[in-house]
């Protein structure tokens, strides 16, 4: 019934009541929170005036520490200090093993397939660690917006890399849930950066977002037209970043200073610090003095270029691939946006400018630009800006497929398809009398299932026995605006069906989240059941309200009398359940009502589309 209130989407019920919304950039190395105040978006600082929160969590036997203090402990207490946890989000135990050598943690065996890390405070998983970071940021946002004495945030937009797969997005959303945040939307980082520059208000055109962080590189090609953003393609390298710059320069210094390759940790650290300092010095100078032990030398721009160019070339190759995926020539790119601290390096700016043939945007602090864009989007979604025309259309970064005979992948939804999207395909049984079918959902571009990421497995049972090939099983994939997948399967002749929200093989079940909420310190005092009841009641109120509005509008035109009577009975039943105290019962009644009102909703939809069209004649589009 949703689509029923077409005249007033985006409007808040009371225009004078401003809602509290924040944008969060949950980064691998650093995280930030930003909000819109007095019409402009800004990053929120902590009491010491720092806007950047290092994405580090230290688990002591007594306390959990988040941020700079936790980061400072990484060296002396590596096993209990979680850093770069974003790399583990949505990953399974097997993935972690392949990353294992870079991570000092003690991984515990866990039953669900999600990695669990042993700490002084007991076992923790990546979702919980991310939730700690989010809680800290939410607290900062709350204090800045609602004051110290209470009040809650109405919602948050959290950014994710454009290439994040379903499991990684789901894990991010779960972390937010665990932190008690209402997620308005998961927003792709490059899209957020473009929004921060207000490019949505500019003219039409193609925008490239070049994001070089400490450890990752992302390129995204967006198309903007009349306020609508479309992510046309994405690409990048998950193991390339500014840290590689530092390592390369450090290796050069070591070589110049005549040091071997077998260096102790302290010397390595020292080399990296000198490398970083030398790199930064060249932003304003032609050359810099470098010393290491007894050796003293000069590091100049030509040397830096020769060292960094091979790495920058890699990023530009990824740019070229992304442009090709988007079917765009480099000349068509009208705006280039720089994101990530490593884009401060002068040589990067030169090469990017040279490749795209135009000066890139770098006016907003490249560390803050993503959080600022997220804050602007959050402000709009929460309804503070009802007249805004901004609309973000995204694409899925990786193809979604299903396993077929012989371990092959059949793609149902191709990568770079605009979301939301829904696709169905029919399959059949291959044995006589087969009564169940296993459905294996995978994500990736490769032919073999074993080369793709396994998202979920489930079974459709109770298919009536038939000869091979006689059953028609329709599998439907649906991806929402956050890029999250749900899958359903139905056997057409019998109507037997099964569906799941894809909870990755190594993800969290809803009951796990509920348990963790219960366990977690902040929510220990809260009565989870009461909260669930309240949520169901609010949902029931919304459902009833919107249906009433819809019925008033055109129930008479679109419904037969008996249909109307049935609907009213179901509404009454929901009202009764609402006044009772059983959340389950409310959910059941709501389900029943929703199902019953489906045909009405579809008729309303048809009518609204036709109405929207009436204002136009085809000629006006021809101009």
């Amino acid at each position: 019934m949703a689509l029923l209130q077409i005249s007033e989407p985006g409007q808040s019920p009371d225009p004078h009541q401003r809602k509290y919304a924040v944008g969060i950039d949950l980064g691998t190395t650093n995280s930030l929170v930003a909000t819109v105040r007095s019409g402009s978006a800004e990053a929120i600082a902590d009491e010491q005036g720092r806007v950047i929160l290092p994405s580090a969590v230290h688990y002591g036997s007594e306390t959990i520490t988040v941020g700079a203090k936790a980061r400072a402990r990484a060296a002396q207490d590596p096993y209990n200090t979680m850093i770069s946890i974003k790399r583990l989000m949505g990953r399974g135990v097997a993935d972690v093993k392949s990353l294992g050598e870079q991570l000092p943690y003690h991984f515990a065996d866990s039953d669900g397939g999600m990695p669990s890390i042993e700490t002084a405070a007991g076992p923790v998983n990546p979702v919980q660690v991310s939730a700690e970071i989010l809680k800290k940021l939410a607290q900062r946002g709350r204090e800045a917006l609602c004051g110290k004495d209470g009040g809650e945030l109405d919602g948050a937009v959290i950014t994710v890399p454009a290439y994040f797969d379903d499991a990684q997005r789901q894990a991010t959303k779960d972390a937010a849930k665990l932190a008690g945040l209402k997620v308005l939307r998961l927003l792709n980082e490059p899209t957020a950066a473009a929004v921060a520059y207000g490019l949505d208000r500019g003219e039409e055109g193609v925008i490239a977002v070049y994001d070089l962080g400490g450890g990752t590189f992302d390129i995204s090609i967006l198309r903007l037209s009349r306020g609508v953003f479309e992510v046309m393609s994405t690409g990048g390298d998950t193991a390339l970043g500014g840290d590689d710059f530092d390592r390369t320069i450090a290796a050069w210094i070591a070589e110049q200073a005549g040091l071997g390759t077998d260096l102790d940790a302290a010397t390595q650290r020292q080399l990296l610090d000198s490398a970083c300092a030398a790199k930064e010095a060249l932003a304003n100078a032609e050359q810099a003095e470098v010393s290491q032990g007894d050796w003293q030398g000069v590091f100049d721009r030509a040397t830096m270029a020769s060292l960094l160019d091979p790495l920058i070339d890699k990023t530009l190759r990824a740019c070229k691939r992304a442009l090709r995926d988007a079917a765009i020539d480099v000349e068509e790119v009208q705006e280039v946006v720089l994101v990530g601290g490593s884009t401060r390096t002068l040589r990067v700016r030169e090469r990017v400018e040279n490749y795209f043939g135009r000066a890139p945007h770098a006016e907003i602090d490249p560390d803050q630009v993503v959080a600022i864009g997220a804050a602007l989007q959050a402000d709009m979604l929460v309804g503070n800006k009802s007249d805004d025309e901004l609309l973000l259309l995204d694409v899925i970064p990786l193809s979604l497929g299903i396993e077929t005979m012989g371990g092959l992948t059949e793609k149902l939804i191709a990568r770079n398809t605009t979301i939301p999207v829904s696709k169905a395909q029919e399959f059949t049984t291959f044995k006589d009398g087969q009564t169940a079918m296993a459905i294996h959902v995978v994500q990736g571009e490769r032919e073999l299932v074993s080369d793709c990421r396994s998202l979920a497995r489930f079974e459709l049972r109770g298919i009536p026995p038939m000869v091979a090939g006689a059953a028609h099983i329709r599998v439907t994939y649906q991806v929402d605006a956050d890029g999250l997948l749900s899958v359903s399967a139905v056997e057409k002749s019998s109507g037997v069906s099964a569906d799941i929200t894809v909870k990755p093989s190594y993800g969290l079940e809803d009951k796990d989240i509920a348990r963790m909420l219960q366990d977690s310190y902040t929510h220990a005092a809260e009565d989870i059941a009461l909260r669930a009841l309240r949520e169901a009641q609010v949902e029931a109120e919304r459902t009833l309200e919107s249906l009433l509005v819809a019925l008033r509008e055109n129930g008479a035109q679109l419904l037969q009398e008996n249909e109307l009577n049935e609907l009213e009975l179901a509404m009454e039943a929901l009202r009764l359940a609402h006044n009772g105290g059983d959340a389950e019962e409310i959910r059941r009644r709501m389900e029943a009502l929703n199902k019953l009102s489906e045909p009405f909703a579809a008729r309303r939809m048809d009518a609204s589309i036709k109405r929207a069209m009436q204002g136009h004649s085809l000629d006006e589009f021809d101009k």
């Binding site: 979604l381 259309l393 919107s546 909703a601």
Partner: protein, 176 residues
């Protein structure tokens, strides 16, 4: 299904092969602005779900309508003719032509100037493709469904050839 309208009805367009791409793009943005789930971020779960379904259907309609081959197949489907992809054509003259084009594609690597040989081939195939689309529009509008189906199959061949040309291009000239 959130709506029972056809792809053409959703976009308020006549079910013909020729269509105005600008009109399609403009209408798409308008529809998304109205039905995108972002517009329902603070509405009930049910409304959000419907918005997802609606937006998905709009996206699907847009994907089909903006691609000439998918559009042609959809028009035939509406007219009651299902054309599965990967069908053969009985037009021997067309098949001969395809074989010759394919041979030329295979020989591009050995040419003294592969880049321009490939470019020449691409332009030629694009021309054939355009002619076939014109042909489809004509016969379909005249209600000749059998001829329209034949034309669609030829288009499917040409699309495949175009993909192979693109693959070779990427292969020959690398990424950067």
């Amino acid at each position: 299904m959130a709506t029972n309208l056809t792809h053409f009805e959703i976009f308020g367009l006549e079910p013909t092969f020729e269509l105005d791409r600008n009109a399609l793009a403009a209408r798409y943005r308008e529809l998304q602005r109205e039905f995108h789930p972002d517009k329902y971020a603070s509405k009930s779960e049910r409304e959000q779900l419907l918005a997802i379904q609606m937006a998905a259907q709009i996206n699907e309609a847009h994907t089909v309508l903006r691609d000439p081959v998918q559009r042609a197949a959809y028009l035939l489907k509406l007219a009651g003719v299902e054309v599965p992809p990967e069908q053969t054509t009985a037009d021997t003259e067309f098949l001969m032509q395809q074989m010759l084009l394919r041979e030329r594609l295979e020989e591009v690597r050995e040419q003294p100037d592969p880049a321009s040989a490939l470019e020449e081939l691409a332009v030629e195939v694009q021309g054939l493709f355009r002619n076939e689309q014109k042909q489809f529009a004509e016969v379909f509008d005249a209600g000749k469904l059998v001829e329209a189906e034949g034309s669609l199959r030829k288009q499917q061949f040409l699309v495949k050839l175009q993909l192979q040309i693109e693959e070779l291009e990427a292969d020959l000239f690398g990424d950067y």
